[in-house]
Symmetry: C2
């Protein structure tokens, strides 16, 4: 036995997005308890030319739905990036999870060598499925979930590593 491409992608994406929901729920509760305007957290960024929390969450969603779709040889659905509140951001992630849940292992298993072509600015990049998953989709997803977490921690929201890793 080895790992299947499905095992290494969809359930991992779903787990991290579920953990992200828990983190966002804690942030929303923190804002309410401390009487902080939620938009302050949602628009917070670690540096002026970095993306704010809302965009980190949207890109985490894009990375997960794009990752699964491209491995399956499909075009990912386009979501408008209009979320400006915690309930909207959480709904975006729930919608992404619902989309991921539609994938059957057979759509993704065997995609190790499938060519995945990405638009990268004005250029395209073609990777095999294995490289795309391990070296691009997963690192990207973890980057944006971690940066969302880091933005909230930097603003004093009491989340911890357990929230990021989830339950075992």
């Amino acid at each position: 036995m080895a790992i299947s491409m499905y095992q290494a992608s969809v359930p991992v994406f779903v787990r991290m997005l579920s953990n992200l929901i828990a983190i966002l729920e804690k942030a929303a509760a923190h804002a309410e308890a401390k009487k902080i305007e939620p938009a302050v957290l949602i628009n917070s960024r670690l540096y002026p030319d970095m993306f704010p929390l809302s965009r980190q969450v949207q890109i985490a969603s894009d990375t997960a739905k794009g990752g699964a779709a491209r491995l399956a040889g499909m075009e990912p659905p386009k979501y408008e990036d209009t979320e400006t509140t915690f309930p909207e951001l959480i709904a975006r992630i729930r919608k992404t999870i619902a989309y991921l849940d539609t994938f059957k292992p057979g759509q993704i298993d065997g995609s190790e060598n499938r060519a995945v072509t990405l638009k990268v600015r004005d250029d395209t990049l073609t990777l095999d499925g294995l490289t795309f998953l391990l070296n691009r989709a997963l690192p990207n997803l973890y980057f944006h979930v971690t940066t969302a977490y880091d933005i909230l921690r930097h603003n004093g929201v009491e989340v911890g590593k357990k929230d990021y890793l989830g339950k075992f």
Copy 2:
């Protein structure tokens, strides 16, 4: 064909640690160019009770060497956490990569169902190899590399997503 446990672990760890070296090299160059005391960056943290850059790098190293060793059913080597400069942190990561390079696929392949027992504070946690790799070792590694990156970005170091993802 599917993914082997080796493919999903050691080369991925090595790639991310190599990207981390490139990020740290840019940070060291930035400090020198801007006449910033390197210790300011190395001791920087995003919140008072978060770990500083040096510890993020050390834990990234621990996660990678611990990940490979535990999948192979071995004890990871213990490194003293004494690094206080960029050259020392980079050397720590290079040493970790050299250790990872000693693993042969046969030591790790087939570890999907191998029991991995971790010390978690005062308790132990036993996971199968697949869960340990996908839901613990990899998310942890990405967390600490991303947080190191976020600390440096927050301090104005000009690193970008390309440095984090590496070359394709």
